[in-house]
Symmetry: D2
Subunit: 379 residues, 4 copies
């Protein structure tokens, strides 16, 4: 009989949207209980937020290091088991590293690190620790995404020969077209935001979606970035040609200046026997195409779906579940892993996804800098 | 600073879907904590379920009466504040009544009672109690449903002249077409399921949606039921002509034999200046029609939405929230009411909705029995 | 080897939209040539229009009677073979009657007559004449409508148990809400427009669509009209409960005040084994629903379609054909009939459809007048 | 008052789909009459087809040269005025050239020629002839495509910064995956089909759509082709990075192995103030996106549309016109040009479009051959 997993939270206080997403997701399947946190670097705000959401304040810590120190003093069956890292990007690496080194399980927001180098160090620490590490590529938690993965694994599309993934948003428009805003916002300052804006923030989700669903590895890429203005130093739009094995090619399109697009992640996968089309904004509709038969519309919760897909649906068909449920499915997979229960490799994204993601981001930056040449990804 | 509201649960144990829906919804905005429950009439299963979802077992009671008795002995600031009634339909009335009589707030599943007579008794008890009573017409929690209500209130459609609501499902097909199944299932046994299947279970949601969004009252109805087989005693399909005030007419269509339909609740509202079309299965798309301008597609989370709508959205546009979030919005409204905070009348459905719903159900049964005549609803 | 059929046109001159529709449709399959016409009651305008569209002017007549007289003098192999009647509604009956009595084939716009009585007289004349008579229920020419008919005929839905048809438009809004306009426009003057506006003009299309696709006859109806204003004498909105054989029920919804709706004809048909959903504004998408399998999206031109459906498609899948092509399919069926070639009964609507349509219109008016009672249609 | 333009047809006999498309389009607006033709290189079949579609046989010629010779003997006011070239691709150039040299107007199917070199020769001949030359980029005839062009011209999107066009089909799958078929079909034989299959056949339509709608010129391209099999010599899939002026970038995606896609041409255009999304398979829906306002759905035939768009619509909103009507709009523009009437530059694609298209095709082949380098297009 399960007892709730003791969850720690780093970041995500106040009005943080990512905080809401993780907190709700952790509750949804009755698997987690928040027992400790540093919601905010300011201790007063930290405590206030804990009270606001009614988390006991005795294990609300003044900073991360104190949290580790104090928690390690507690008996193992009271100590935080898994910690969600929701802090600003540059803190993901040091925090996740220390958590792993002290034997905690980790749920880490994306991007995992700020460089491939850091990612590999984290990977080494993870291998040594032997605990659970999950990277929240949230969108792989959708039942119909999992359905694609299973159907491809079962050969229902035959050999894949073309993949087209997209992640279009328009929200950076109001910043980029205003010279003062674009020169002052941290998002477009490479010192603060890292080497890539568009690919690093959203393109990498499309990359992960391609590898998650097809089970194939992207071998090389060629990218073209758009900065839109001479005085802007960060990519706000990037198109990436991709090559997988054996005449399998494709494209990853990403943009933060796709005016009017909200959160336009999508994928189309074309194989010998059939094809898929799926869009994040209508996550419960999976279009299965054929050259000879009518298009089929798969929806969650039906007996025709795979076990992996059905495991991510709580209500009967027609009751739309959404992004919180998608994240909850990832938390559910992590819970199974922590408890040593059986789970499918598709239930949560791992350290490997994080390392590959950083490799992809760095490769696209390099390709673009080199005048749009092909760059190989590591195996 | 809020402290979580102490929530009791009646029913909803085991694999109960309605249990999941309420539990998740209660967690989503960090407002409730389950402190006591009778999840199951079987005490062993009750306790087992409490352990499974890691609810403290000290206030898991053997039955409803014991729960009331024991809780009343507790000091007021430890006692259950609000109780969710998720038991079989015929128990809603006696449980809600006793809860109200003992000063508890109540969140009650639908149908509120099994007759209009019971509904009125409950209404009287509620008036006396002065506590909060919410009926979970879940679908009115969707942000775009709330947006319709606000836009109509603000006169953006002008005078309404036509309403068309629908609730189509196909799930009863596998029962109704099999003589043995249809004669044995409790759903189609009037002794167990009450006076109406299709209208009582789903048609009434469409009825409530009409009144919730338009702010108008339905004054009279004429209904035609379909039983599909001579030996079937319960309506599995019903169309209802409706009349509101001043040349405002419409139709409510409901069916449980609409093959292949999943949970097809929808509404179209036509006014002098514009119109709405909305469907539950794609709840984040509200189509605003005009005779002279392009159709506009409203989506949640945008600054152009009303306050009531925005209050039901937690993430930025393009992050699909769904049915759990809709129910969570109703729980949020109830939390505000319990805490004496300001809230909008559209934030949760009340006793009045429950009484009107029972009136509607009884009227459709009467109209159909009388050979499809007009029956007036009470004011 | 076919030689083009000699076509006469009555009405449809100037800016007439119905004129464009018929003229284009007659050309599309290279089957017809316009050889004579009375496009306009004003002879000057008649001649001018003939020149504008470059029809030889030697057989442009000053009026209908002259046309008949002169054409009858011509040798049979020069004479007009078929005449399209596109004149104002009240002229359909006398013109079609005289055409039939003189041995012409007739393509008649809808409504066929202004009363059931006239319709029956025309039917008698048609039986006597033995020529081809087609009523242009244009929408039955769409390939996916024909596909529904064939699939139902082949039993693919099993026993039908529920039908829901709709025809919503919003164009009358700008007239109806203006007291002066609504009291002066011929459309809303019963002396000029006949006994019904909404049902007569569009509801009857939905009625025909139900009978065309299901192959079932509607046996009785109960209707409720909305006039919207006390001083308005014509129905601008009407909902009709329908009963077919054996526990098969349904509803026909029609409105001319459905704000923002353009030409919203649609149908949903629910059977034991499956269901259909189709909408005129997206005529190339037929949704085939099932309780257990993914929804299938049928599109025209595929090998999986029926012969009747494929006969109405000229280009490969993905090349959208529209309303002109739908009408052209009906003209194609008429051409086959005139030439004595084999054709399917679904290729063009007949006199029987016309008589039934008038019966339906009169029955709905009667039901509404009687306080919404059931009225039986003739067999 | 117009008299029908005398039209000649080269090719398009028998079951030719392109023949149907042009013939119907020429009829639709009552502007053209077929007076002469070489439908087929086999004279017997040529004559048989003329009889089948009831075209007078006196000017059905045994071959193209005879046609020119005989027509030139006729008085100018009887002679063919414009000739539609629907023959196999390699004949477009010599036929169009000779037609121009003899003073005929020309409507030419795509691709205009088999090389840029030929295209430029034809351009020179056209400049000398001074007659009308139209290239049938059919899809630019759709009203909503024309609406995009006008709205961009009027500055409604502000500065464009991103364009994404696609043309996906799946029909070559059944050939490409079968070694025997792919080695024998003329389509995939570079000697017969020219230098490019996918880009030459469909990618170039997407290219033209980009330039037609935005009014911008593509300056350079980088392409990556997929041949799918070692033994296949023709591109069946190609992705093209594009650069226009001033930080304006984009992508053109095309494929003939996009399984289950029918005729998936589409475009998305993102500007400072708004964006467009449009798809050929639903040509009557133009989505106008904004970062701050609800998405608007433009449809044809409304007063809010531009004059250029409205000129391409014959019926009121909600009566779907399709691909034949789109081609008819191009024929209408050509008719105006031939008659010396005023017309908009967007009413038919010209020689310039043809030359640019051949430039694009050759550039993509070169880029791919060079290892995916940037290639500049001519000004």
């Amino acid at each position: 009989m399960p007892k709730k997993i003791r969850l720690g939270i780093l970041g995500g206080g106040g009005d943080s949207l990512i905080g809401v997403l993780h907190r709700v997701a952790s509750h949804i399947n009755d698997n987690y209980q928040i027992v400790g946190a540093v919601f905010n670097p300011d201790f007063e705000q930290n405590m206030a937020f804990a009270k606001e959401i009614d988390v006991p304040t005795d294990r609300i810590y003044k900073d991360f290091d104190t949290m580790i120190e104090e928690e390690m003093k507690l008996p193992e069956d009271e100590r935080i088991q898994v910690c969600s890292v929701l802090t600003p990007n540059f803190l993901h690496f040091p925090m996740a590293l220390k958590l792993l080194e002290n034997g905690f399980h980790v749920i880490c927001e994306k991007p995992m690190t700020t460089s491939l180098e850091e990612a590999k160090k984290l990977q080494a620490a993870h291998e040594k620790a032997g605990t659970v590490f999950a990277l929240t590529h949230t969108y792989t938690g959708y039942p119909m995404v999992r359905q694609m993965r299973e159907m491809i694994k079962n050969g229902e599309l035959g050999r894949i020969h073309k993949v087209d993934a997209v992640y279009y948003q328009g929200w950076i428009n109001e910043i980029i077209h205003d010279q003062e805003k674009r020169s002052s916002v941290w998002r477009l300052d490479p010192k603060k935001a890292g080497i890539s804006s568009c690919i690093g923030d959203i393109g990498v989700h499309a990359f992960n979606m391609v590898e998650y669903t097809t089970g194939l590895k992207i071998k090389s890429i060629l990218s073209d970035f758009n900065y839109l203005y001479e005085d802007n130093q960060m990519d706000v739009d990037g198109t990436v040609l991709i090559r997988m094995s054996d005449h399998v090619k494709g494209v990853i399109r990403s943009s933060q200046v796709a005016t009017g697009e909200e959160n336009g992640l999508g994928i189309a996968i074309y194989g010998e026997k059939g094809a898929f089309r799926w869009e994040q904004e209508n996550p419960n509709y999976l279009y299965v195409l054929s050259d000879t038969k009518p298009t089929q519309v798969y929806k969650p919760g039906h007996a025709y779906n795979s076990e992996l897909s059905l495991g991510g649906t709580k209500l009967p068909p027609g009751h739309p579940e959404g992004i919180f449920d998608s994240m909850a499915n990832i938390y559910l997979g992590v819970a199974k892993a922590i408890r040593g229960e059986q789970y499918d490799s598709g239930e949560y994204p791992t350290m490997t996804d994080g390392v590959r993601g950083m490799n992809f981001i760095e490769a696209t930056v390099e390709s673009n800098k080199n005048g749009n040449t092909w760059v190989e990804l590591e195996d």
